[in-house]
């Protein structure tokens, strides 16, 4: 009885258990791991991915996938730097998330109007978005070394990086949206049983469009943090981030079939992946084993949460 309860707990909180275990191991192996500086650095570096994973959670709970957020990130990077250089730095930072929002809406409309699976639609749109980014940047890097632009990615507020503040506020906002609002309820119902949602009077297409819009906005928001940090807009930015974000969401325990999940889980997923990376760095371990280890951890976490769920 008690054993079963412990197992069930471990199942639903597998990602947290893994994080704690990994932190204990790293703290024992290295003095430089458990320092405020190292931990803040990990968070700072991974804030853009965390923001995208948080929004991806909503898309996946609603039963979708967004493979275009990496391309939207690239688009945000190029357009924010370009606007910063040619028009105004603040305007560049301000507009990029809304460009992402617009692209997200395009994704949502393509999916619901053409009635195709989001997987296919976003593969296509990611090429389009990436193509636009290449055209705008003319294939070159756009340098934006302007103080009014780089403050966002490099600055701190109350001693903590701006990026961490943005990540925390954004994640709290999405958590509130998902757990406390009618919109959140509708997101869960669309992913859990679309037919029942339709018969309950929910305009499921609108809900889906909204989740993709949020994912697009998040990708734009993440891109300005990175772009202002490196002071460089480039069309190759964000490559592969869509898969990392999806991996983090699934690693956190959100159901890939939709209808179940939470934003904090995705943040934990991002943090777990980051810890593995960080462990390799501070232990000076052979980086050739990094991908291998990451893959094994993801597989283990998915395996644990899948046990006992096959009958449902």
């Amino acid at each position: 009885m008690i054993q079963a309860q412990i197992f069930r707990f471990a199942q639903s909180y597998a990602v947290l258990v893994l994080i704690v275990a990994l932190m204990v191991v790293l703290a024992l192996l290295s003095d430089s791991f458990l320092t405020g500086r190292n931990l803040l650095n990990i968070l700072n570096q991974n804030a853009p991915l965390a923001i995208m994973a948080a929004a991806m959670t909503l898309v996946i709970i609603a039963g979708g996938f967004d493979l275009s957020v990496g391309a939207i990130f690239a688009m945000g990077s190029v357009s924010s730097a370009w606007i910063a250089v040619t028009v105004d730095p603040y305007l560049g930072l301000f507009l990029a998330p809304f460009i992402g929002l617009a692209f997200g809406i395009i994704n949502g409309i393509a999916i619901t109007r053409l009635n195709v699976h989001s997987f296919l639609a976003t593969i296509a749109t990611s090429l389009i978005f990436k193509g636009i980014a290449v055209v705008i940047s003319d294939g070159r890097l756009i340098s934006a070394r302007i103080d009014e632009f780089i403050w966002l990615g490099r600055g701190r507020f109350l001693g903590v990086f701006n990026s961490i503040w943005i990540m925390v506020i954004f994640a709290l906002l999405l958590t509130f949206l998902l757990t406390r609002t009618t919109f959140g309820r509708r997101v869960f119902s669309v992913g859990g049983n679309e037919e029942a949602a339709i018969l309950s009077g929910i305009r499921t297409d609108r809900i889906k469009v909204a989740t993709f819009a949020i994912a697009g906005f998040a990708a734009g928001l993440a891109s300005i943090i990175t772009t202002s940090r490196v002071a460089l807009g480039q069309a190759s930015a964000g490559q592969g981030m869509e898969l990392q974000a999806i991996a983090a969401v699934i690693l956190g325990g959100t159901s890939i079939y939709g209808g179940q999940g939470a934003v904090w889980r995705s943040l934990a997923g991002v943090f777990l992946l980051a810890l593995i990376n960080n462990g390799f760095n501070i232990l000076n371990a052979d980086p050739f084993f990094r991908d291998l280890t990451t893959g094994l951890v993801i597989l283990a976490a998915i395996g644990v949460s899948a046990i006992g769920q096959t009958r449902r």
Binding site: A4, R185, G192, E195, G201
Partner: protein, 499 residues
């Protein structure tokens, strides 16, 4: 008499729950053996254990006199025991012949010989079943797809076939046909284990019947000379006769409440249909007669032309507005259309009424909780947790949650599509009481059911339905089941002749 299967002390546990406790049963070779019981009594579980689909937690099994240790689908098949699941396990894109011989394909060095069609012809000749070998499975009716499953079992030389609720989506004619097939299988010396909750079907075909209650064996006996009452009292435990319907409260005068005019489109053609205050109006039709389509058209789930009036005022043709106006439909398929199984009870119940439980988009969770609590008590849902995991509830309790969902906020007119499908006797009674109470409180009810008895027992007025139209009004207090069946079939054949 040889014994095909003999089980001793069969026990099945899922987690902490014992769904089958130490059941002893012997299945005679060359017989049709019925397994019955209420939902959750363990009849389906026993069928699946005997067929090798579930693993027993304890107990021994012998097959044709030989004790077996390993008992899973491959070894069951090797011993000549096949199972036909309620959800058919066919590949929809393959042909009939390809499905029948899946896994048994003849090949030369791994290259298929593609002779399935010819092999199937031979198999059909000996079994008396006939299908087009080259038809694509997805294009066939459920009844024909079941024939594929039976042929598949025969292709594997099965001597015992377990059929799990095979008739749940068949029309009456198809049920009769399946029964003939089962009898033919028996006459060839094969054994059929027939799991069903239709007592009539058991009495019509079975030689022996085993009744289960709460996972335990009640008894096994010959089916000859038994009545429905005998089986029901075994299933329920007391000497309760078949459940009576709640008394009909007839409204003293029919005050107009709801009217449908000239509904046309999406397979529906209804010229006029009215429901008064406190009235229960029944719709009776065969499977595929357009009953469900009428229900969907009325609430605006499918786009149709025509007028739907509540108190003489047109109801907007989208579900959200219809719900707000007090017109709701309880859909027939709780798993696919009714409940969101990934969510707990509370969000399920309030899903169509989110606007009432929120302020500027933010959920008022306290109010939601207390209203859900009240609904759970009103419908006596078990377990009674506000945030219980509805996916683990029994069919009857899921159906009560579904009713609670749609009767939240006291709608004025309720369309019920198969409100008691696949629920146990206790839940069925509770649902019937709830329907009667709903009408007594002044709501109008449109009751759609494939169980004629249910409509006759509850409705004040009723219509026969065919091809999405109302074809005849009947008086439920005077009509009898047999008459109605005849009328429906007569009308169907008339239509076929003129068509």
């Amino acid at each position: 008499m040889t014994v095909a299967l003999s089980a001793r002390g069969m026990t099945v546990r899922f987690g902490d729950v014992e769904v089958l406790s130490s059941v002893d049963v012997e299945i005679a070779s060359g017989s049709i053996h019925g397994l019955i019981g209420e939902n959750g009594a363990g009849k389906s579980t026993l069928g699946k254990v005997l067929g090798g689909y579930y693993r027993a937690s304890a107990g021994t099994l012998s097959v044709f006199g030989k004790a077996v240790v390993r008992w899973d689908p491959p070894s069951a098949l090797a011993h000549g025991v096949a199972i036909m699941h309620q959800e058919l396990q066919l590949v929809p894109y393959l042909t009939v012949a390809q499905n029948v011989f899946m896994g048994l394909e003849e090949h030369r060095f791994g290259v298929l010989r593609r002779n399935e069609a010819a092999r199937l012809e031979a198999l059909m000749e000996t079994s008396g079943l006939s299908l087009d070998p080259n038809a694509v499975t997805a294009d066939l009716s459920i009844a024909d797809q079941q024939k594929i499953e039976i042929l598949r079992a025969l292709a594997r030389e099965a001597r015992v076939i377990v059929m799990d609720e095979p008739t749940s989506s068949l029309s009456n004619a198809e049920v009769a046909q399946l029964h003939r097939i089962m009898e033919r299988l028996r006459d060839e010396g094969r054994t059929v284990i027939y799991v069903t909750h239709f007592l009539d079907h058991i009495l019509e075909t079975c030689d022996t019947v085993t009744v289960l209650r709460d996972g335990e064996l009640v008894r096994t006996r010959g089916a000859k000379g038994l009545t429905k009452g005998d089986l029901v009292s075994d299933m329920l435990g007391g000497d309760k006769a078949e459940t009576p319907f709640p008394a009909k409260v007839r409204p003293r005068e029919i005050k107009p409440l709801f009217e449908v005019r000239n509904l046309k489109g999406a397979g529906v053609s209804v010229r006029s249909l009215t429901v008064g205050v406190g009235e229960i109006v029944g719709l009776i039709g065969l499977v595929g007669s357009g009953r469900t389509e009428i229900a969907r058209a009325i609430v605006g789930a499918d786009p149709v032309a025509g007028d739907v009036l509540l108190d003489g005022v047109p109801v907007p043709r989208d579900i959200a507005s219809a719900t707000a106006a007090g017109l709701v439909m309880v859909p027939e398929d709780r798993r696919n259309e009714g409940l969101v199984m990934t969510l707990p009870v509370r969000p399920n119940i309030t899903l169509p009424h989110l606007r009432r439980f929120s302020q500027s988009g933010v959920m008022a969770q306290g109010c939601e909780r207390s209203q859900t609590q009240a609904a759970i008590e009103r419908f006596n849902v078990r377990p009674s947790a506000v945030d219980g995991d509805v996916s683990r509830y029994s069919g009857g309790n899921q159906q009560k949650v579904l009713l609670a969902k749609w009767l939240q906020g006291d709608p004025r007119i309720v369309v019920l599509d198969e409100p008691s499908r696949g629920v146990d006797v206790g839940a069925r009674e509770a649902i019937h009481r709830a329907i009667a109470a709903l009408a007594a409180s002044g709501a109008g009810v449109l009751l759609i059911s494939s169980e004629i008895e249910e409509v006759l027992g509850l409705a004040h007025r009723a219509y026969l339905v065919d091809r999405g139209s109302l074809i005849e009004e009947i008086n439920p207090d005077e009509a009898c089941e047999a008459e109605i069946m005849h009328a429906l079939f007569r009308h169907q054949s008339l239509q076929e002749r003129t068509a």
